[in-house]
């Protein structure tokens, strides 16, 4: 068998998780190809290698369909960042993140960072309709929300919104505050102190793959944040007790099947 081509080894892994049809593939497309195109439902998963300075970052796009759910924890294994994606017009998509996807991240790297991303913001937010990429986060407002004592229920109940069911208009079903509350619950799930972790206002994004709103900001913020993780990984590898067989590979590697005829 010809030896499988040794790919450029990625230094760090970023995984996109989320329910089907929230726009994970579109987000990745927008970032890598700078455009929005029709995508079909992702089968299994796909990945993309991004050169970020001297580092290679692999970004895994996963399938949201229930059928492929079992593969999620494999994709997440060793991930340094997980992008939990929901659809701002669909309350259920946020709830799914908590119910189904959060547990998949158990296999991620111990220092993994989490971003909560509400996609399709162009449908609810005029700001996101034209902007290609502008950083429109109003900081004070968020600060205010964070200081409010909040009851963290395991799964918040969806607000009554009959309009969205009829499909006539796409109301915003998930507010940024909901997402930030969810972020708080992620930290609790991970057993992390809120103080020692990245703040919710920094890690919750609302994006639009269609217009490009906030997309670059999302990925680039994450890349900058995972850089320490890359350096740590490299250091760990240096001290790794595992013998790299590739390096030690000598004449004895094909002994078992050496042919004589």
């Amino acid at each position: 068998m010809p030896e499988a081509s040794k790919m450029k080894k990625p230094d760090v892994k970023v995984v996109l998780l989320g329910d089907m049809n929230v726009g994970k593939t579109s987000l990745l497309h927008r970032y890598t190809e700078r455009r929005f195109k029709d995508t079909i439902s992702t089968v299994g998963g796909a990945f993309f290698l991004k050169q970020w300075g001297p580092y290679n970052i692999s970004i895994w796009d996963t399938a949201g369909r229930e059928q492929f759910h079992g593969l999620g924890s494999m994709y997440c294994r060793g991930a340094s960042a997980v992008i939990l994606t929901y659809d701002v017009t669909n309350w259920q998509s946020l709830a799914e993140l908590e119910e189904r996807f959060l547990s998949l991240t158990d296999t991620a790297h111990h220092g993994c960072i989490y971003a909560v991303v509400g996609n399709k913001a162009d449908l609810t937010d005029s700001k996101a309709q034209l902007s290609q990429d502008s950083d429109g986060v109003s900081e004070d407002q968020i600060q205010e929300e964070m200081t409010k004592p909040q009851v963290l229920s395991a799964c918040p109940t969806p607000p009554a919104s009959p309009a969205s069911l009829s499909g006539m208009s796409l109301n915003k079903q998930v507010t940024r505050e909901d997402a930030m509350a969810f972020y708080g619950r992620i930290l609790r799930y991970k057993g992390l102190e809120e103080k020692g972790s990245l703040p919710a206002e920094k890690m919750c994004f609302e994006t639009s793959a269609k217009t490009g709103y906030n997309v670059d900001t999302l990925f680039e913020t994450l890349f900058d944040l995972v850089l320490p993780s890359i350096l740590r990984n490299r250091n760990e590898n240096l001290q790794s007790p595992t013998v790299d067989l590739e390096e030690c590979r000598g004449a004895g590697s094909k002994r078992a099947r050496s042919t004589c005829c």
């Binding site: 089968v43 998963g45 990945f47 593969l71 494999m74 294994r77 005829c261």
Partner: protein, 880 residues
């Protein structure tokens, strides 16, 4: 959408195996080199020799020769066969028992220990292709027990097997693959990785092995291919991480293998081939009753229940060419680049370049010029391949022939465009920009002439502005090939430039002159005449200058003369002899005049000949204008101004000649006066000015001019002379002219004298003037003159006093400085006594005796008086 990556070739036909026995099926296969072993459900092993036969057309087929078949005697199907070629053993699984048979005789090997080299209760086994044991005559084997939830690791030797490890699993395993210490297991509900050395395990993902047959396939070092839910082919490494995106199979995949860069999978009716590079389905082959798909040392072998086939990969190049043939450029490039590691470096580079070039041509044909040029550049395309598409662009002398096999399917541009003129135009524009980019890069090395000539032709044809830039800069355009082309498009000016670039200035000039004269039409430059003049001006070939100057001067002498006057003056540039030029210009009077002006006025050449010649020419022109009637006043005055200016300012011309020429001319009195002035015949000059011209202003101006480079005494003398002329003329009877003049005339001179004095009072010696003036003149009349004279005198007096004072103080200062340098201060105080009278001092004024001894002034005076013979040197200073 599909690529032809593999071909299915029959290896062992049904007849050879079971003939017409309908119930006999193939259960397992093993291939080791040329040896093919087939296990059947009736407990037989068949041994074939498989030979590759390549037909004259390059088509591959297999001829199989049956060597042996052997009944194992267990009445059960042979479940698995594995060769251990180093041991010359086949490892056989049949009826839950693993045992060894000889590879050649197929006889069961009796155990050395007597107990038989057998393992019982085996559900499945696998061979470690990346063994941890260093012994080459030993095979590592992983065994799944049919009853217990364990995996056993055995060492297989020539005549015995040895259990070395046993590890438990959480569920019943049903498929296994091993690499190093890593076992990849399919359990009942999930896949997992298990390190049998450390016991560490890693769950991969859930999978229901009851629903679908799991696949666990080692595809490389610590990497496995697994059948995943949803018909996916998942990759997982020993750490439980997926490093490649999954491929999308059907739900019912039976077997899978990797044949780089493809993943081959078999289901009930098809063989599907996906690329590992882009995860896309590349080829589908119909295959009924598929049963087994396995790869043996890179060879993929399939079996239906009745026959064996080999899946032969087509040569990579062929696959790439197929992709290119269907214009799938991106895929072809991915495949090429993906294969980089499987091809020797130099061979890959050649292949890669060629594919890039072909890809470029495909995109070129689709008018995707941006991508095409990128690929041409990366593929280092010989630009002539591209140029040769355009009819007639390559020079006839070019030795280029298109490479074989061809890089593209186009005969030429017309074939490509199919008569679409817009397409042709766009292709031409592309070539212009592409050639423009590459002509200065190394791509053009060795074919610079072809590139530049092609570019020239395109520029000319497209009426492109850069044509002139190309020709004016360093280029390698072939003259012979370009001439007819440029003539065809009436680019005569450009052709001239090319002649010039090739050192044929004469041809260039002939051509340009024909255009300038209107014989040929080329609107490139409306100022071609001026261009030719400029060209001649800086032309280093003097013969050409002489040859074509005539034409230029005839057309316009004022511009034509630039040939001589604008010539760059430099030592290493061939210069024209001024005398030759002047004599050459004999027939072009106007040009000659301009040239002399250039020499005399501009270059300030100090040669009598030129100055005289110019002055004579000026004079001739003035005389000519004077003789016309009616007289053109404007021209005359400008001509006279020039003449006068030259006469005044030049000191080199021969005054006598000019004077002789204008002696009889009463209209040029002013000029004559100037000439007299040059000869220092100031009285004659002033006489003319005052008495003949009666131009007192000019007389004054003459005085100032004639004395301009002299001292004030000379000037004073001149002014006195003028005053004398005025006053003499005023004395009746003394001068002829004055006598002839009437009474009013003498009044004029008087007034002129008064004005002169009043205006230039400071020049005159007032005393002399007062002596000269007639008695009768009133004081009032001369008041400004006298006022100024008095003021000047007072001023002079005071100025000299100031000068005296300043000189004194300077002297004092110097004395002070000298004293300070030479002596220390002398202290005088009321407590000190005078050395002469021994009284103390009461005043600061003292006298110092030599040696710095202060004494009273009166004491010194006393002493001097007392001894008049003695001379005492004293320094008188004030010290406090």
């Amino acid at each position: 959408m599909s690529v032809k990556a593999f071909e299915l070739v029959p290896a062992v036909e049904r007849d050879l195996l079971m003939g017409d026995k309908a119930r006999i099926n193939i259960e397992c296969i093993e291939c080791c080199g040329k040896h093919l072993y087939v296990g059947t459900n009736d407990c037989f092993i068949h041994h074939f020799l498989l030979d590759e036969v390549t037909s004259a057309k390059g088509k591959l087929s297999y001829s199989s020769q049956k060597l042996l078949h052997k009944y194992l005697g267990l009445k059960k199907p042979v479940a698995e066969l594995r060769a251990a070629s180093a041991l010359e053993r086949l490892i056989v699984l049949c009826d839950g028992i693993v045992f060894l048979v000889d590879m050649v005789t197929l006889e069961t090997v009796p155990s050395a220990a007597g107990g038989g080299a057998k393992i019982r209760g085996v559900a499945a086994f696998c061979i470690n292709e990346n063994p941890v044991n260093g012994d080459p005559f030993c095979v590592e084997m992983g065994i799944l027990s049919s009853k217990r939830r364990t995996v056993q690791i055995f060492m297989v030797y020539e005549d015995r097997v040895q259990l070395v490890k046993e590890v438990g699993t959480p569920e019943q395993p049903c498929a296994v693959s091993v690499d190093g210490y890593f076992l990849c297991l399919a359990l009942a509900t999930q896949y997992m990785i298990l390190n049998y050395n450390t016991g560490a395990s890693q769950d991969l993902f859930p999978y229901n092995s009851e629903e679908r047959r799991p696949i666990v396939k080692r595809i490389g070092r610590e990497e496995f291919l697994l059948a995943a839910p949803g018909g996916l082919g998942m990759f997982a490494n020993a750490e439980g991480v997926s490093q490649r995106a999954p491929v999308n199979w059907s739900e019912s995949v039976i077997g899978a293998a990797v044949c780089f860069p493809y993943v081959v999978a078999l289901d009930e009716s098809f063989i599907t081939i996906h690329s590992m590079l882009d995860q896309q389905l590349k080829q589908t082959l119909s295959f009924r009753d598929g049963h087994i798909l396995q790869d043996f040392e890179g060879k993929v072998i399939l079996a239906s229940t009745k026959a064996v086939y080999v899946l032969v990969p087509l040569p990579l190049e062929r696959q790439i060419q197929d992709l290119l043939a269907s214009h799938r450029v991106e895929e072809a490039l991915i495949l090429t680049e993906g294969a980089q590691r499987n091809i020797p470096k130099d061979k890959f580079q050649i292949l890669h370049k060629r594919i890039l070039q072909q890809a470029g041509f495909i995109q070129f044909g689709q008018l995707q010029f941006l991508e095409a040029s990128e690929h041409f550049r990366k593929g280092q395309l010989d630009v002539r391949e591209l140029i040769s598409l355009y009819p007639l662009l390559l020079p006839t002398s070019s030795s280029f022939t298109r490479c074989h096999p061809p890089l593209h399917e186009f005969a030429d541009l017309n074939h490509l465009a199919q008569g679409d003129k817009d397409k042709v135009l766009r292709c031409k524009k592309f070539l212009i920009s592409y050639l423009g980019e590459v002509r200065s890069t190394e791509v053009a090395n060795g074919c610079r002439e072809d590139v530049d000539t092609a570019l020239l032709k395109l520029y000319a044809e497209q009426d492109h502005d850069s044509l002139l830039d190309l020709l004016a800069s360093d280029n390698a355009c072939l003259l012979a090939d370009s001439i007819p082309w440029l003539e065809k498009y009436h680019k005569y000016f450009a052709l001239g430039l090319l002649y010039h670039y090739n050192g044929q200035d004469s041809a260039a000039l002939q051509l340009w002159i024909r255009v300038a004269d209107g014989d040929l039409q080329d609107p490139t430059r409306s100022d071609l005449y001026e261009y030719v003049v400029d060209f001649l001006c800086s032309c280093s070939n003097l013969d050409l200058v002489w040859q074509y100057a005539d034409w230029a001067l005839q057309k316009d002498p004022t511009i034509g003369i630039h040939i001589f006057t604008k010539r760059p003056v430099s030592k290493d540039w061939p210069q024209l002899n001024s005398d030759d030029v002047i004599s050459y210009l004999g027939k072009h009077v106007q040009a000659q005049l301009l040239y002399l002006e250039y020499l005399v006025l501009e270059r300030r050449i100090q040669k009598e000949k030129f100055h005289t010649h110019l002055a004579v020419l000026y004079l001739e022109r003035v005389t000519m204008l004077l003789s016309q009637s009616p007289i053109d006043e404007a021209q005359l005055s400008s001509a006279r101004d020039r003449l006068q200016a030259l006469l005044r300012e030049s000191n080199l011309y021969r005054v006598q000649i000019l004077l002789g020429k204008m002696e009889n001319c009463e209209q040029l009195l002013l000029e004559r006066a100037t000439l007299h002035g040059k000869l220092e015949e100031h009285d004659k000059a002033l006489h003319i000015l005052v008495h003949k011209l009666r131009d007192f202003r000019s007389a004054e101006a003459f005085c100032i001019w004639a004395s301009s480079c002299r001292d004030s005494a000379y000037q004073q003398q001149l002014f006195h002379l003028l005053l004398g002329v005025y006053l003499d003329g005023n004395r009746p009877g003394k001068s002829q002219a004055a006598a002839a003049a009437a009474g009013g005339d003498s009044g004029d001179l008087e007034m002129a004298a008064v004005d002169l004095l009043n205006r230039h009072g400071e020049v005159f010696d007032a005393v002399r003037v007062l002596r000269m003036l007639p008695e009768g003149w009133s004081l009032q009349l001369l008041r400004p003159f006298l006022g100024r004279a008095v003021r000047a005198s007072v001023h002079a007096c005071r100025t000299s006093q100031i000068a005296l004072g300043l000189a004194n103080s300077e002297n004092l200062q110097l004395l002070h400085d000298r004293l300070k340098e030479r002596k220390k201060p002398i202290f005088v105080s009321e407590k000190k006594g005078c050395h002469l009278c021994h009284n103390t001092f009461s005043e600061p004024d003292v006298v110092c005796l030599p040696g710095g001894v202060p004494v009273h002034t009166q004491c010194v005076a006393q002493r001097v008086r007392d001894s008049p013979t003695k001379r005492l040197l004293t320094n008188s200073t004030n010290h406090t």
